[in-house]
C-alpha cells in the first residue's frame, strides 16, 4: 500500500517536476513568477488533443508538435506581457503576469467552452502486477518520457553553448551582456524551453486523467510553482526534486490524512518551506546587495 502510494506519487511528481522547470528557469533569468505557465500547460494539453482528434496526427508526433506550439505561445507571452515591463517595478511585471494567466484561461474558455474533453488513450490499457505495486503501461511511459526530458534539459544546459549562456545570464546579467551574450535571445529561449516542458506535462496529464479543460492549468500551475520553491527557485535539479517530493507528499497525504484536503497539502507544504528554509532545499542563501 505504502509503496503503491510512493509509485503513484512519483508519477504525479514527475509531471509537477516538468512544470516546475519552466517556473524555475524563467525565475532564474528574469526573477519573475510566470503566472501564465499553468495556462501554457493547459494550452499544451489542448494542442495535443486537437492534433490527435481533429487533425489525426499520430500521437508521438502530436506530443512534440504540442511542445513546439506551446514554446511559441510562451515566447509570445514574454514578448507582449513581460518584455515591455522589464524596466518597471517587479510589482507591475507580476500583475501583468497574472493578467496574462487570466486572459489565456478565459480565451480557452471562450474558444473551447467549459465542458471537459476526453483524451483518447494512445496505448492499450495494460496493467503490470509486481509484488509491491501495480503500474500501467501508460504510467511507465509517462515516467520514461518525463525523465528523458529532464535528462535532455540537463545535458542541454550543461553542454551546449546556449545552455551555458543561460547559466551565465542567470548568474549575472550585466557581466553576461558585456561578454557579448544577447540577453533578449536567451530570455526567449528560456521561455520556449520552459513552455515546451510545461506542455509536455500537460499532454501527459491530459492522457493520464483522460480529461482536458480550460481550467486544468490553475492547480497544477500553482503546484508546479510550489515544487520550484520547494527545490529552491532558480535551481534546475531543485525543481525536479521539488516536483517529485511534492507529488509523493500529496499522494501520501491524500491517502493517509484526508483526500479532501489533497490540494491544501501542497500549500501547507509551501508555507512551511517558506518559513523554515525560504531558499528551498537546494537553493543557496543570497545576501541582498545594499
Amino acid at each position: 500500500m505504502f509503496i503503491q502510494q510512493l509509485v503513484n506519487g512519483l508519477i504525479l511528481g514527475s509531471t509537477y517536476a516538468l512544470i516546475a522547470l519552466g517556473y524555475t528557469m524563467v525565475y532564474g533569468i528574469i526573477e519573475l513568477i510566470n503566472f501564465a505557465h499553468g495556462e501554457i500547460y493547459m494550452f499544451g494539453a489542448f494542442a495535443g488533443l486537437l492534433l490527435v482528434t481533429v487533425l489525426k496526427v499520430p500521437f508521438f508526433l502530436a506530443f512534440f508538435l504540442a511542445m513546439a506550439l506551446a514554446a511559441l505561445l510562451g515566447m509570445t507571452v514574454e514578448f507582449l506581457a513581460y518584455r515591455p515591463l522589464r524596466h518597471s517595478t517587479r510589482l507591475a511585471a507580476l500583475i501583468s503576469a497574472i493578467g496574462a494567466s487570466i486572459f489565456l484561461q478565459n480565451l480557452a474558455l471562450l474558444i473551447m467552452g467549459a465542458q471537459p474533453y476526453t483524451f483518447p488513450s494512445p496505448v492499450e490499457a495494460k496493467v503490470y502486477q509486481t509484488p509491491f505495486f501495480t503500474i500501467s503501461r501508460l504510467e511507465i511511459i509517462i515516467l520514461i518520457f518525463s525523465f528523458l526530458l529532464m535528462i535532455a534539459l540537463t545535458l542541454f544546459i550543461q553542454r551546449t553553448k546556449i545552455g551555458k549562456a543561460m547559466r551565465a545570464v542567470a548568474q549575472d546579467k550585466d557581466t553576461a551582456s558585456l561578454m557579448g551574450i544577447n540577453i533578449n535571445q536567451i530570455i526567449t529561449v528560456t521561455f520556449a524551453i520552459g513552455s515546451a516542458l510545461g506542455a509536455a506535462s500537460g499532454v501527459m496529464v491530459g492522457i493520464y486523467f483522460r480529461t482536458v479543460t480550460f481550467s486544468m492549468g490553475l492547480m497544477p500551475g500553482l503546484k508546479g510553482f510550489v515544487a520550484a520553491v520547494l527545490g529552491g527557485i532558480g535551481n534546475i535539479p531543485g525543481a525536479m526534486m521539488g516536483g517529485i517530493l511534492l507529488g509523493i507528499t500529496e499522494t501520501i497525504g491524500a491517502a493517509y490524512i484526508s483526500s479532501q484536503y489533497r490540494d491544501a497539502v501542497a500549500f501547507a507544504l509551501l508555507i512551511m518551506v517558506l518559513l523554515l528554509k525560504p531558499t528551498g532545499l537546494l537553493g543557496r542563501p543570497v545576501q541582498e546587495k545594499v
Binding site: 543557496r284 542563501p285 545576501q287 545594499v290
Partner: protein, 257 residues
C-alpha cells in the same frame, strides 16, 4: 560622560559565500572626527558600512558603538541609537515628496501609533507639527527648502545626494556614514558639499565617516584617513601620511596598471 571613541570595530571579517570581502579589520572613530575611508573599487568599503549599520552581520569580529555592542542588531535597531547613513547608489523614496522623505527620516524619533493617527490626538498633531518643522530646518540646511513639494525622483543628481543627507540627519544621529557623497558631482557642487560636511560636524556636532574617491575631498576635509585594499586595512593616518605611504601608492597604481 560619553566615551572618547564613538565607534570601535575589532577583528572584523566578512565573507560572501567564500569571497572574503573584509579580513581582520580594526577600526576606530573618535567623537566629532571627520574620517575618510578610501581604497580601490571592491576593497570592501561599502561592506564595512553595511556591517556598521546592521545590514550585514559580520562573519567574525565585534563592533561597539558608544561602548555598546551592536553587531547582531538589525538596521532599524541601529538607527535609533544614533548611526545614520547614505547609500552609494542613492536610495531615496522616489515617489514621495522631498519633504516626506525627510519626515520619514524622523520615524524613529516620533512615537504616535495607529490609534493616535486615527483619532488625530493632540499628541499626534503636535508631533506632526514638530516633525514638519524639523524637516524644513533640515531642508534649509541642505538648501532644498524650495523643492520641498517636488517628487524626490525629479531632483537632479546633486540634489538627490543632498536630500539623502538631510534625510539621514533627520534621524538625529551622532555618527553619520556617507558612501561616496561626491560621486557624480561637478567641481562646484563638490566644493559646497565639502562645506556642508564641515558644517554638519561643526554646527551639529556629528561625527562623520565618509567613503570617497575624489582625493581633493579626502585631502580637503578629513582629519584622518584609513585605506582598505582587498579587504585589509593597509594604512591609516593623517591625509599627508597616507598620501606618501608606499603601500597605498602601490595599491592605487596596481589598480590603474
Amino acid at each position: 560622560m560619553p566615551p572618547e571613541t564613538i565607534l570601535t570595530a575589532t577583528g572584523i571579517c566578512h565573507s560572501f559565500g567564500g569571497l572574503m570581502a573584509l579580513e581582520d579589520v580594526d577600526f576606530q572613530i573618535k567623537r566629532k572626527e571627520i574620517v575618510s575611508l578610501i581604497g580601490p573599487n571592491g576593497a570592501g568599503k561599502t561592506t564595512l558600512f553595511n556591517l556598521f549599520t546592521g545590514h550585514y552581520n559580520p562573519t567574525r569580529g565585534e563592533i561597539y558603538f558608544n561602548n555598546r555592542k551592536i553587531n547582531g542588531l538589525k538596521p532599524y535597531q541601529v538607527t535609533p541609537i544614533g548611526i545614520a547613513r547614505t547609500f552609494q547608489n542613492i536610495r531615496l523614496f522616489g515617489q514621495m515628496s522631498v519633504l516626506e522623505n525627510v519626515l520619514v527620516g524622523q520615524h524613529c524619533r516620533t512615537r504616535s501609533g495607529l490609534f493616535d493617527a486615527i483619532l488625530r490626538t493632540r499628541g499626534f498633531r503636535q508631533e506632526e507639527a514638530r516633525a514638519r518643522k524639523v524637516a524644513l530646518e533640515m531642508l534649509a540646511f541642505v538648501r532644498l527648502e524650495e523643492k520641498k513639494d517636488e517628487k524626490a525622483c525629479n531632483l537632479s543628481y546633486g540634489e538627490q545626494r543632498r536630500l539623502e543627507m538631510a534625510r539621514a540627519l533627520a534621524t538625529n544621529p551622532s555618527l553619520l556614514l556617507l558612501d561616496e557623497p561626491a560621486a557624480g558631482m561637478n567641481p562646484q557642487e563638490t566644493t559646497s558639499l565639502m562645506e556642508l560636511v564641515r558644517q554638519i560636524r561643526d554646527q551639529m556636532g556629528i561625527t562623520i565617516l565618509l567613503i570617497e574617491h575624489d582625493m581633493k575631498v579626502v585631502m580637503g576635509i578629513s582629519e584622518r584617513v584609513a585605506v582598505l585594499n582587498y579587504g585589509r586595512k593597509i594604512a591609516e593616518g593623517t591625509p599627508r601620511e597616507v598620501q606618501n605611504n608606499e603601500e597605498v601608492i602601490r595599491a592605487y597604481l596596481g589598480e590603474s596598471a
